[in-house]
Structure formats: C-alpha cells, structure tokens
Symmetry: D2
Subunit: 345 residues, 4 copies
C-alpha cells in the first residue's frame, strides 16, 4: 500500500483527492492538513465523509505530512506550495504539487506571470504532469507539477494537431468555459449563488495566468514558441470545463489526416476518449471521472479545425490527474483507483 | 461472481444500476434490455459509459434476461413489471423490482391507487425492500419490491419514533422535496429546463401514489392503520430528496427519549447516518451514495418533533437500494459495491 | 411626484427598490445611500442600471436622505434601522422600514428574539405593512414595518382560514422554501454557488426569527395567541418563496366553506390571485411581480387543509410590498408602479 | 394606440411579446393565435398573466389576426411564416416576422440553408430588423425580418470593426453561448432538465443555420463576402446569450482606433451600452431588457481583438427587438415600451 498525505485538504481539490483516495485499492491515506481547520475532524467539516474517513485535519507541517507517507499531495495556493515542497522532498517523499509553482520549465516565465520563485533550481527537476505528453518522465519524477484545469483541456485538444504539423500554431484560439468549483471554496461576491446563477460571463480576457502554461506545452509540441488567445468564461454549474479550440490548418492538411492524428496520438491512452465522427462531447459525460473526451470538425469553408474537449475540472483538471501522476510515479497502473464511470445526471 | 441482468436499462435508474454494477466487486453484468434502444450499444446511447461497458441493449424478453443471470432487476414502468416478473421467477432467478407492482402486502391497496393487479398471489411472497425494516426477510426473498424514493426518505425518518411509540401516528405530516430525475427521463413540458429552472412548486397535493406505500410501512411500525399528509414538491436540481416530517409527540416523550430512539433503532445500519445534535442534513452530503442522513429536533413550544431526512433519489431512492437488496438476497455484505463516498460539490 | 430616498440601497432589496422606482410613474428617486459604496455611481456598481439611473451612493445620513424626500425606505440590517428611523421621522418624512425593527406591536417580543429595542415607543405607532390585513392603518401611518418574506407568504396563506375560524390555530405548520437571494448579497460559504447548487437543506429549524412575526399576525386573526412550527429551507434558485401550510380544520368546516373563505377574504385585493380548483401555483408564475398566488385543498382523509402560497421574495417579500405600502401612505392606487407582469421563463 | 396581433403566441417569444405589449403605453393587444392552444384563455395556459391579460388564443387565420390590427407579429416556425405573411400584407397590416423566412436578401442563400422559398419576391421588400444597422429602412418597411438571437449578438459585436476596416473579415470567429429558452418551448430530451443542468456542450458545430444570416450582414459591412466560424453552445440557464468574437486586426489598427470605432458607431443608439475600459459584460446585466452590452480588448501579443457581447435572447434576441422594429415602423420612439431596467438577480 502506498501511504499518502495531503496538504491543504479542506478545499474542493482536497475533497476530491480524499474521495478518490478512500476508494483507491493501493492507497492508505495517513494524514490531511489544513491551517484553517486544524484540529477538526474531516467528517464534521464535510459530513459527506461520515463513515468513510476518520482523519482529523492536522497542522500543515512537513514533519506531520511525511510522518507516515510515500507521497504527499500539496493542494496549496501558489507561493505556499514552494514554501512547503522543498522540505517535503528533503524528507524523501515524492510530491505531486497542484499549484502553479512547479509547472514551468523556465522560472522566468513563472516570474513574469506570478511572482519571484523561491526555488527556481527545482523547476528543472519537476515534470509537467500531463501523462499523455510526459508519461515516461512522470514515472521517473520525484516532483510533478500538476497541470491547471484549463491547460489540461486545451493542450489535449491541440496536441495531436501540433505534433503532426497539421495546424499553424499562431492561429490557435482557445475559448474555454468552466464550472464554478474552479474558483475554489473561498467565499466571495464573485461566487455568490445569485451572482453566478442564470448568468454567463467572460473574465480575465487576455490575461489569465493559465496562458503561459498552455503556451509552454504547445510550444514544445510545435517545436517553436507559440502565442495563443485564451478566454475563460464562467458557467453557472458546479463542475466541468469545455474548451473550444480553433486553428487554421496547414497547407495540405485533410479531414482524414486530422482524424488519423487524433486516433494515433491517443492510441493506448486510458483516459482520452474520442467521439464518433460528427459528435461532440458534453461535460456531463465525464463528470466525476478522469476522462478527457474530444470531438472535432474540419470546416473546409474557412479551413479551420474546431476541437471541443471536455473534462471534469476537479477530477481530470486537478485531483484525478494528480492521482494518475502518483500512480505513474509509484509504478501502479495509470488508471488505478480511477476506474469508476462518470456520474449522470 | 453474481450474474446480473437489467430490464429497462435505458432510463436514469438503469444508468445508475449500470454505474454501480460495473464497479461492484462481486457482480458481472450480463445483459441489459430496452425496447426503445434495442440493438444500440450502451456507450453510444450514453457516451459516459465509453470504456466502462460494452453491452448492447437487447430485447426485453425473459429468455434474454435469464440467459446468464442469477438476479434480474426490473426497472420498468408499473404494469410492465408485473407482465415480466412471473416469467423471470419461473426461470429460477431472483428479482428486484423497482416498480410499485410488488410493494404492497394487500393487493387491494395497490388496486385502489394503481390498476388491477395481474399476479396478486405474488404480493404475499414479495418483500418490501427497505433493509432497515425488513433485513432478514429480504435475505430469504426471491422477489423484492424496491421502495419508492419518497417512501424511503419518509419511512426512515419516522420509523424510530413510531416503533417506540414516541409520536401520535395520526399527526404525521411529510413535506417532501425532490430533484427532477425522480420524474424519469421521458421528455415532457413538465421537465423542460425552462419550466423547472428558477421555479419551485408542489404537485399531486394529497393524491401522490407513494402515499399508500408510506402508510403501509408506518402502519406496520405503529401497529395500527395510519393516515398521513404527504406533499411532494419539485426542486430545480437533478438529484436528491429531502423530507421534512412533523409529528406531535405522545404523552411522556422527551428530547432524550427521541435521541435514544434514533441511535438505537439505527445501530449497526451501514447506510443510515445521524447528524450531530442541532445539525440538519443537506442533500449534497449524500449525493451519489446509498446513505440516508437524519437530523431531528423536538420543539417544546408545540410539542412536535421535526425530522429531516435526505437521500439521493436515484441511489438510495432506487438503484443503490436495489443493489443493497441484491446483496442481502445473495448473502453478500449489505454494503458491497456501495462503499464510494458521496459526490461534492 | 413623490420624492423618494433609499437608505441601504446596495443590496438585493435595494436593487429591487430602485428597479421599481425608476419605472414608477408617480415617483422621483432623489437619493440612495450605502456606507460601503459611498461615492460610487450606482451604474458602475450595478451595470444593469446603465442608462436607467445616474445617482451616486451617498453617505447614509438622515440629512442626506431627507434633503429632497417625502418618503424614505430603510433597507438596513436590524438594529441599524432603529438607529436611523427616529431621525428620519423627526425630519417629517414618512418611512417604510424593511428591517424587523418595527414589525412588532410588543417590543418585548422583539427583544426576546432579537436584541434590546432602542425606540420601543415607536413600536405602537408603526403599522405592520401587509396591505391585505392592515390597509386602512397603512394609509394613515407615518412608519410602516415592512413584513418579512416568509411571514408574507405564510400569513396570506392562513389568514382566511383563521379569520373565519375554519382551522384550529394550534395545528398550523408552515413548511417554507426560499431562493437564495433571501440571504442577502453578503459573501459567505453558505451562499457559495457550489454549496447551494444541486443541494437542498433545511436551516434554523424551530428557531428562525420570522416565527414571532408570523405568530403575532396569526394571533390577531385567531383572536388568541398562536404557536406554530415554521421550517425554512433553501432552494437552489435565486428568487421565490413557496410556503406549504398545514392545518387541521375546525368542527363543521367544509371544502366549500374553505373555498368561500379564500374568495371572500381576498375579494378586491389587487395582488392576491387564487388558483383554479385543483391547481397549485409555482414560484415561476409570480417572479418579478408583487403577486401572491394561492392554491389549497381539503383532505378529508386527515381533515387537514393544505395551502400553497408563492411570492417573489424580493418583490412581494420585500421591495414590491414596500412600494405598495408607500402607495397607500401617499394616497396613490395600491398597484401604482407595480403593474408589470411576472417574468417567465 | 397601435393595435397589435400576435400569431404563434403560445411559445416563449410569444410570452415575451405579450409581456412587453401589456405594458407598452402606445399599444393595444387585440388578438393572439395558436393552433395548439386555440380556445384556451391565455391566463389559464400561463397563470403568470392572470390579472394582466384576458385574451383567448384564437385560430391562426389572417382574417382573425387582421380583424383589428395595425401590426401583426408572426412568431411561427420557419416555413409556417411564409405561408401566413403574404396574406397579412395583402390585408394592409405591417408585419414583423420572427422566423428566418424574411431575413435574407438573396432567396438562394435561404434556400441553400433552409428549404425552397415560397415568396422569394417578398425578400427584396423585407428589411433585416437590426435597428443599429438599418434604422431608416425599418422606418419605411412594411415587412421586417426580425434577426436571430445569435446573429444579433454577433453582428453588433463585429459591426464597428468591419465598418471601419479595423479587422480582416476572413479571420472572424464567433464563439457563442446561449441559455435554453433559445431552443423554444417544445418538449424534447435535449431540453430535459437533467440533460441540461450541470452540463455544457457545443452543438451544430460548423452547421448552424444562423451562419448565413451573420455572414450576410457582416459582408454588407465589410463590402465583400465574409465566411466565419460560428460555434453555438448550450448554457444551463434559461435566458441570455454571450458571444465572444475574435478577429485579427488590419494593418495599422490601434487600441485607440478600436475604442473610437465602438463609441462612434453606437453613438445615439438607445440599446447598445459600452463597458468601461477593461470591463466585460455578464448576461445578468441585460436580463429582461433590450440592451446589448459590449466589452472588448486588443491583445498586442496576437494582434487580435476580442469582443464580448451579451443580450437577453428572448428580449433583444427576439421579442424586444421585434417591438423596437414595430416602434420604428409606426413612428414611435425606438425605446417605447422597452424602458424597464434589467432584472437582477
């Protein structure tokens, strides 16, 4: 059994990590920490867990987290993660970090969009935890920077096209729509039910911090720097992300070539499912699962390809993918503990 | 492994049965039938199941259902169930029927609220599948009438009070609120998104067919006939039922006696969870699980006790409870295949 | 033109007051105040008002509010209202107070459920602003205590029955369900979209502060003190309240007598609409309007009458009713400025 | 007073037309027709209208509709409209048609995307009813083809940019998101609450029939044929459309030039509101109103401009715009009867 501890376990990604862990056949959850809820029983804080987990939130201290752990998940805010991660690694555990702190190969990019980095030397060791792109490196990693929710949905939509040179990288536009849980569990007017319900809006147009993370990975696939437009929107629902990705095809690209690219690129990937021709996915069909479902269409009128990708932002976009990374880092099957079907309705 | 077939598998309770079955460690799902979807792959009809189940909907024929099955679930409309169940029993399988056809001990009650019964002689063999009340009888049953969603929530709320004589049976009022999936998957104006969303209403006030089913079980607990008021309401959400049950206490009843009744009555029940004193449950904390969570309060001003119960209408109110019944009928642990925590948010 | 000022205009009831006022043919809105938004333009704070109102939030000072006003609406929290109202009255304006501070005839009742009252002597001058019960007194009032949202829905449901002696007052149970805007616009975990959406719960069971207000008015109708059970619930929608009111009929009451009571009691009331026999209302059919729609049924099996009432909690349950009170206090037709139909879908 | 009749009044656009008409100070509503509801009172069909309108649905016959009317609104399905409109015009009334049948200047375009046109000769007389583009022609028209909901939101977003030559027309991508009422009131699985709620999806990717309508108007603005990508999505909410429009700027375009274009183009337009710099609109801020609110940003990294537009799909996207067109056709102020502020929350 792999022994697991979670730092920052009281938010939605924490809930989702615990939900998966208590069902995971190869995992024993040994500690959860939360500064705000320290000393409280998990099942008093979240009555949903009554009968499922008897842990108590402890102090977010490296000694506590590594007391009885092989892997630690850090579900902390940016900056708090890099304060914690080095001490965890020093104590010999593997770390999956769900913040943005270890997603960037180039610390300068991180610093341009976030803040000064305290451990830039770790950036080169960290692996970007998107299994479809970096499976082997993740297997060997001791630190994984778990991808953001929007980047997961967008990179998986564009990867086969860029990898095969089927689109012109500079034409990529990603129009994304997310449920509210992506904003976290903190109370604010922006997530007040009455401000969200029956409304739809764009936010951080042209300035969302997930942009450089997407561009890093698309640039690696394209073999050159890529700039994109990325527009996030807020959907009045709790879970789910849908990204609609547009790109102009390269000379010579055909509908068949595009189809082949998707099928070949994701051959053998347990968590990417391809829609039948002419079909497009709904977020409902992946809810609560680690799947990313993809549909696409080549429009000969405009010579653009439109790809629609859906994920559950808390599962594939955060905690499920983190577990997937742990599985790989620990030599387990990629899908261990993640085999339950989506929830519907 | 128990071999399971499902008749009427294309609706929401069918989806939920399949979702549970494909994760159940002791079950192999061998056939699903649906008249409307006959010949279609399950995962084309419900893309959510892609990668999880490769079955094809077959003809709803007893020979098909019993071809390779120990237990058959009938998730059919009233009347269609009693056309199918006798033939299934004749072929030697056990049956869990999710319709109302086998919930009534007295066929005359069924006929007063539904229609003429075609197999009244089976009514006396059928067991009402509420494990907390009839666990031993379910273990020995070959036919279980799986309870309705509202009745499950209401009977579990009132049972300890009636069993101990702590309330006057004739004072019971059950005010229930259900998510929309309780209405099934059929298209109608009543379930049109824009007719449901941002609205709240009562329906079938004083005439809902779940009334006699509730009264049957409450009468058994009270040791005499019971008439109640039951008012169902429609909540603009997909899943969940909350019932608020009111009753005037009997002479001599105390707050402590009421607390004791709940704790003793549900001691050892794996799926009933009691709130801490002063707390009341939300449907969110049981979503996707087989739990029934209960909170209550004695109001000395009016000498009434108010009990609030929550269930997931598709899991505990239908398919999860049906699986629980199958577990008991087959000698498995009551909670087999139903151990996953609730979904939140 | 009546000159109107609003204290505490930045919340949902403030929005709704302004929305009505800018359309009201006999009103000129002259000042809005808000401590938190002081100095900001209304239409920057609420872009919805761009082009409809150019006012700026001012300091919540009696001198500002009465600078150019005949009537002041105080949409302030409890306690803040009684700090402000006496000074407004001293300056000669009429006041409609939307807090609980002036709803109680007996200051001792207020103090038992809220806090010490600073101006108990004003309580006897204040009129409870439910036009169907106190129309004439409201016309003569200079201070109206505008009813709570739940009490409006419950009192209107029960009034005809109590006024005619058709039910036993001690048997009244009010099970109420409200949209989230009733909790106000303040940010908190309790109103976080993901904590509300797809969930349903009861709250403050047996201890909600609207209880004594309901009992005061029902007691006046019954001619004796009345204690009730009142259970509020939170519905995942923005607007609307539905109350389901149960009562055991008095000896001799008949279905026809009950029908007559409703029709006679509300004859001529412009904002109470009675459902056709056998029909029950949905909150959707009153959204955005000042209507209260009522449906009822006598159940001979239990000898109880069940009344279902629906209102829009922000319009009839707060701001629309406040405008209605202003109309009466100023000699305008009761429905002035409130004639627009409900919003659907 | 203008006498108005409505054909096809039982759906959501019919409801919205009636809602506006009963408040319109210059209108008397004289007849409503509906084949399905013929003979039924409006306020029995829609209890929301009780007390607001006493009309009865009549037979959808030109003689009935023109019996006492100056203007007839045809809110009928495609094809049914062109069966009715010629007879209405022959009887001398003005017509605002809410279907697609009279939106196209070139009948061949209509026939390529819809079906054979029965009255192609009327197409040249019909005016596309977008007041910001065709105000003067609408004033003189006797037949207006009222724009589709998506096209309204997209054309208004792109018009200033194309009119000034600030963007390259062939780079336009419109990613649109609509509430469910856009699908109409007919029952189907696609609008079942549980299939929509908590889900988000794209549909008719690359093949939605609003495409040619958008291209027609953008082409007129650009002075040459334009092909775009238009992707509609379904949002789990009842009302509202948000379109995110992307375009690459032309050589020499600047952020200031773009700002100027919007401000100049919409100077004096009563129903277009421009966001402050750096702000983007939510559908909530226009709900129930005829406004179109616009926000935009030039991204120097990619040299694209992103425009976000929001409308209420039933008001500005259908019935409110239709009333606006009637106002212009009848010499009334453009905003007559449409002055009420948006609804929030």
């Amino acid at each position: 059994m792999i022994r697991v501890a979670i730092a920052g376990a009281s938010g939605y990604t924490g809930f989702e990590l615990i939900r998966i862990m208590v069902q995971h056949p190869e995992v024993r959850l040994t500690a959860i920490t939360s500064r705000a809820q320290m000393g409280q029983r998990l099942d008093d804080f979240y009555p949903a867990f009554r009968g499922h987990c008897e842990l108590v939130f402890e102090e977010p201290d490296p000694a506590v987290l590594t007391r009885d752990a092989d892997v630690v998940f850090t579900a902390l805010p940016h900056q708090a993660a890099m304060d914690m991660v080095p001490a965890l690694l020093d104590r010999g555990v593997k770390v999956v970090d769900l913040s943005a702190d270890y997603r960037f190969r180039d610390p300068a990019v991180y610093e341009a969009w976030y803040q000064p980095h305290k451990t830039p030397e770790l950036s080169s060791q960290a692996v970007y935890g998107l299994p479809e792109l970096h499976r082997e490196a993740i297997r060997r990693a001791r630190l994984v920077g778990n991808p953001g929710c929007y980047p997961t949905s967008i990179i998986l939509a564009a990867a086969p096209l860029l990898a095969r040179g089927l689109v012109r990288p500079e034409t990529i536009i990603a129009d994304s729509k997310s449920g509210v849980s992506g904003a976290g569990r903190g109370a604010s007017l922006a997530v007040h039910f009455c401000e969200v319900n029956e409304g739809f809006k764009a936010y951080k147009v042209g300035e969302h911090r997930h942009t450089p993370e997407i561009e890093q990975e698309l640039g690696l696939l394209a073999g050159k720097p890529v700039s994109i437009n990325f527009t996030p929107h807020l959907v009045p629902m709790s879970r789910g992300i849908l990204s609609t990705v547009y790109a102009t095809v390269a000379a010579g690209a055909t509908a068949e070539g595009i189809d082949d690219a998707f099928h070949n690129f994701y051959s053998g990937a347990p968590f990417v499912r391809l829609c039948k021709k002419g079909e497009f996915p709904s977020t409902l069909q992946v809810r609560g699962s680690n799947h990313c479902d993809l549909g696409w269409r080549f429009d000969p009128r405009t010579r653009r390809v439109i790809v629609v990708s859906v994920i559950d932002n808390l599962t594939r976009g955060a905690s499920g993918q983190a577990v997937c990374n742990m599985n790989l880092m620990c030599g387990l099957p990629e899908a261990a503990g993640l085999a339950a079907p989506p929830w519907q309705p």
